[in-house]
């Protein structure tokens, strides 16, 4: 058990290092930060001096080594663009992204499960076909277009919901939340739908497939034979057994939601880390870009690690499976 955990943690560290290397090497190619840092009057010699000071002229391994050394202490330096410590910037924006990701994840989960169960139970009905078809629109149009169309309909034409930003926020210590004010909650609706639509389709399909499998299983047939009501069979037996993989997948998708929020956040001017990242890409704010990519990788690695360890603890069969694969 301990050996397994240690091995997984070591693997996670290697993953982080690879991500760091890939992310860091990218930054040498995205553009010249100096040209965005200084105005049009600055002479070429002065530009060169600044480039030197920023360490942009050092050899690649040296730059990378100093980057890793500082990253290990969560020190990503200072943003070229906003001139604030990068970690502080990211931590200030993280609550906005996490709230958005969580709400859209819950939205996707709730509607995904409901619609998935419905379409599984009424497999041949035309409403099911309609739901299956319509839900595919969510994955058949690019996210940015869905966001803009929602803004057009609900913010501009109907004026029901805000078109941008987070509304009024409340500070709870360092966590800035928009969930406690009406305008904050209203501001969440459109971005959460935009971001969650893709996951909703995914979860709905997964639930439907799992339900169809489970409904064919012998114990369900027995349950029916025992004279249990349809309702009891569907919800206490079938759905319960469907939930384990569904919750796992949803959990794993949370990292993906955070990553995809860069598009949603850009469209809705949502003040989260995704929008921060894209603005940093546009202005070649290397320290912020590096920190963001490391953060996303860390979130993924941690989620994966937790899921793996939970599986390991809960399901003894997996222990055999895993060791069978790896001997």
């Amino acid at each position: 058990m301990l050996a397994y955990i240690l091995r997984r943690i070591l693997q996670s560290v290697i993953v982080m290092l690879v991500v760091a290397l890939v992310a860091f090497s990218l930054f040498r190619f995205v553009g010249d930060p100096v040209s965005t840092l200084v105005g049009q009057e600055v002479t070429i010699a002065e530009r060169e001096t600044l480039r030197d000071q920023l360490g942009l002229n050092d050899p690649f391994p040296m730059q990378f080594a100093s980057f890793i050394a500082r990253a290990a202490q969560a020190d990503f330096g200072i943003s070229y663009r906003l001139q604030q410590p990068v970690m502080e910037l990211i931590l200030a924006r993280l609550p906005a992204t996490l709230e958005l990701a969580l709400v859209s994840g819950l939205f996707a989960f709730f509607f995904g499960v409901t619609l998935g169960v419905y379409t599984a139970l009424n497999r041949r009905g035309w409403t099911s076909s309609a739901i299956m078809t319509v839900s595919l629109i969510g994955v058949s149009l690019p996210t940015f277009l869905i966001g803009v169309l929602l803004i057009w309909v609900f913010a501009v034409e109907l004026q029901w919901l805000p078109s941008f930003g987070r509304g009024e926020v409340v500070d709870l210590g360092w966590w800035r939340t928009g969930l406690l004010t009406p305008s904050g909650r209203a501001s969440l609706v459109l971005p959460a739908i935009t971001l969650g639509l893709y996951q909703l389709t995914l979860i709905m399909r997964l639930v439907r497939a799992e339900m169809l499998e489970v409904l064919r299983a012998d114990y369900i047939k027995f349950a029916r034979a025992r004279g249990l009501s349809n309702r009891a069979v569907h919800f206490s037996h079938a759905l319960k057994n469907t939930m384990v993989p569904v919750i796992t997948i949803t959990g794993l998708q949370l990292g993906s939601i955070i990553a995809f929020s860069i598009i949603t956040e850009t469209v809705f001017q949502w003040p989260g880390v995704g929008a921060l990242f894209i603005n940093s890409v546009r202005t070649v704010d290397v320290p912020v870009m590096a920190a963001y990519l490391m953060l996303i990788a860390l979130i993924f690695v941690v989620i994966n690690l937790i899921v793996d360890l939970l599986y390991f603890a809960i399901d003894p069969r997996l222990r055999i499976d895993r060791s069978a694969v790896r001997h």
Partner: protein
């Protein structure tokens, strides 16, 4: 362009050029009285929600020489002299400025009395001298504008003397974005120098402010929201807007949607395609005006060979080819379709209100493709040639669209242009490093004088000169003339020399100018605000119906 007479404005700039308008004491007192009245009724505060594409990079007054940063800082800090909508200089913290009669290398500034900082300090000559020194010391982003300064001294509490390396008749023009901060405050908070990127630490002045400006900063969340509230003890007339909520919105569609849905009151960066529609929308009005910025193409007209061309020689080195391109470009079509009528086509690579602009430079003929094709044949390119055109896609209004349009027009005369459009962070280094044969560039003239254009775009590269001279043009005779401009005190002779230099530049066709950029601000009905020529609107200028 309706309501805009180039000649009149350029005249008024000329007359204001060196003659500061003295502010009358009477109006100052009236202003103070009005401020008292307004502050007592500030219960029904007028809040203005203001959106534009990007945020100020920092609130440190000297760290960055960048438009959006200056725009926000102008509300919190003040400069010695200000720039009026027509481009003329107006007094701010300096009530008067002149070149010392005894020594023509010394500028004298009389500092306004009775000005207080937001935290209560009194403004004195000490603060001004400290601020000018801070601004001209690296790592300040403003240093280049003060390169000719040798020493700043005080003479009593309200006079500052600035000694220059030589006669510098235009120096005061460089001061419109150099903010004055409190020496005491800077020393208390250890911000005697501006942000140093290499140091890797945040400067206190990045998010904390103490200016003399009309607004105090109340809340600052970079790139999210900045709230400013009126400064009750400000020396000038109290503005009608008592609270400013400033929110950057990056996406054009979202920005327009926020105005249409009534979530913001003023949008500064309006996409040109939305102007006509916004004008027809109830409850929304659009104002427009020319920006101090020109959009032009230029090319390597000096090298033996081009890196990206399909021919062995350099076609751009041939005057016939440059003339053919000038005949192929249809500026009116670009204006009408790409810019939706929102530009001022011109052959002159400088805006009309800049000193040195003339009607003759501005004039452009109708495109003549037959003649252009004939010229191409004369130059030896009957079968045309291909070349890369580099273009930014996130810097100027419809920059990529302008390039695409030119690609089509040059295609008509046999030039097979391969468009490479990319982010400004990738585009500008190409020009600085001489890695492009053919490129689009926009240029603003913050000093409102042609010398600025010559220094950066025409003078051969070296030292402080020619940083954006991507044409590699090099003419020692012309260089000498450009250098002479800096120290000429006889303004008539200087203007004549400027005209002489322009004749040469236009004759050589170093630039293929497209147009002067026109800006549009969209706002809720009932708000009045004119377009600022440097795109730095002041909310103090806003009035409500």
């Amino acid at each position: 362009m309706a309501g805009f007479d180039n000649r009149e404005i350029s005249m008024s700039v000329a007359s204001h050029f060196f003659a500061p308008t003295r502010l009358r004491t009477a109006s100052l007192m009236a202003g103070a009285a009005l401020a008292l009245v307004l502050s007592s009724v500030s219960v029904d505060a007028e809040t203005l929600r203001w959106a534009r594409v990007g945020d100020a990079l920092t609130l440190d007054p000297h760290a960055q020489n960048e438009g959006p940063t200056h725009t926000l800082n102008h509300h919190i800090y003040e400069t010695l002299v200000g720039r009026a909508i027509d481009g003329s200089l107006v007094p701010r913290l300096a009530t008067d400025w002149y070149i010392d009669e005894a020594d023509d290398t010394v500028w004298v500034f009389e500092i306004r009395q009775g000005v207080t900082f937001h935290e209560g300090q009194q403004l004195t000559a000490e603060d001004v001298a400290f601020s000018l020194d801070r601004a001209r010391t690296t790592p300040s982003g403003m240093a280049a504008l003060h390169a000719a300064v040798q020493e700043v001294t005080t003479d009593g509490d309200y006079t500052v003397r600035v000694r220059m390396a030589g006669p510098a008749p235009l120096y005061v023009q460089n001061l419109t974005n150099t903010f004055i901060m409190s020496r005491e405050w800077a020393e208390q908070n250890a911000v005697e120098t501006s942000q140093n990127f290499a140091a890797g630490e945040e400067n206190y002045a990045v998010r904390n402010t103490n200016g003399t400006g009309p607004y105090r900063m109340v809340e600052r969340d970079p790139e999210v929201r900045t709230v400013l509230r009126v400064f009750e003890d400000h020396w000038d007339d109290a503005p009608e807007v008592t609270e400013i909520i400033y929110t950057p919105i990056t996406e054009a569609a979202t920005r327009v949607a926020a105005l249409l849905s009534g979530e913001v009151d003023l949008v500064q960066d309006v996409p040109v395609q939305d102007i006509a529609r916004l004008e027809q929308t109830d409850g929304v009005r659009v104002v427009r005006g020319p920006e101090n910025r020109n959009i032009f193409f230029s090319y390597d007209m000096t090298s033996e060979q081009l890196a990206s061309a399909s021919v062995d020689d350099n076609p751009f080195a041939k005057p016939e080819v440059r003339e053919a391109m000038a005949l192929a470009i249809d500026r009116d079509a670009i204006r009408q379709v790409v810019m939706r009528g929102e530009s001022q086509p011109s052959a002159a690579p400088l805006p009309p209100f800049v000193n040195g602009w003339t009607e003759e430079m501005h004039a452009y003929g109708a495109p003549d493709q037959d003649r252009a094709r004939a010229l191409m044949a004369e130059a030896g390119y009957e079968s045309g040639f291909s070349v890369d055109l580099h273009c930014p896609n996130d810097r100027y209004l419809n920059d990529e669209g302008i390039c695409l349009a030119l690609v089509g027009m040059l295609g008509q005369i046999g030039m097979d242009v391969n468009l490479v459009s990319q982010s400004r962070t990738l585009h500008f280094p190409l020009i600085e490093n001489w890695e492009t044969d053919f490129y689009l560039l926009g240029w603003g003239v913050p000093t409102f004088d042609s010398q600025y254009v010559f220094d950066f775009l025409v003078h051969s590269r070296g030292g402080a000169y020619g940083a954006f001279n991507g044409s590699r043009y090099s003419n020692p005779e012309l260089d000498a003339k450009i250098e002479a401009l800096a120290t000429m005190t006889d303004l008539d002779a200087r203007d004549a020399l400027i005209a002489e230099i322009w004749d040469e530049v236009m004759e050589e066709r170093i630039f293929l100018n497209v147009h002067n950029q026109v800006l549009a601000y969209a706002m809720r009905d009932g708000i009045n605000l004119a377009v600022h020529p440097e795109n730095q609107p002041r909310m103090t200028e806003v009035s409500f119906d």
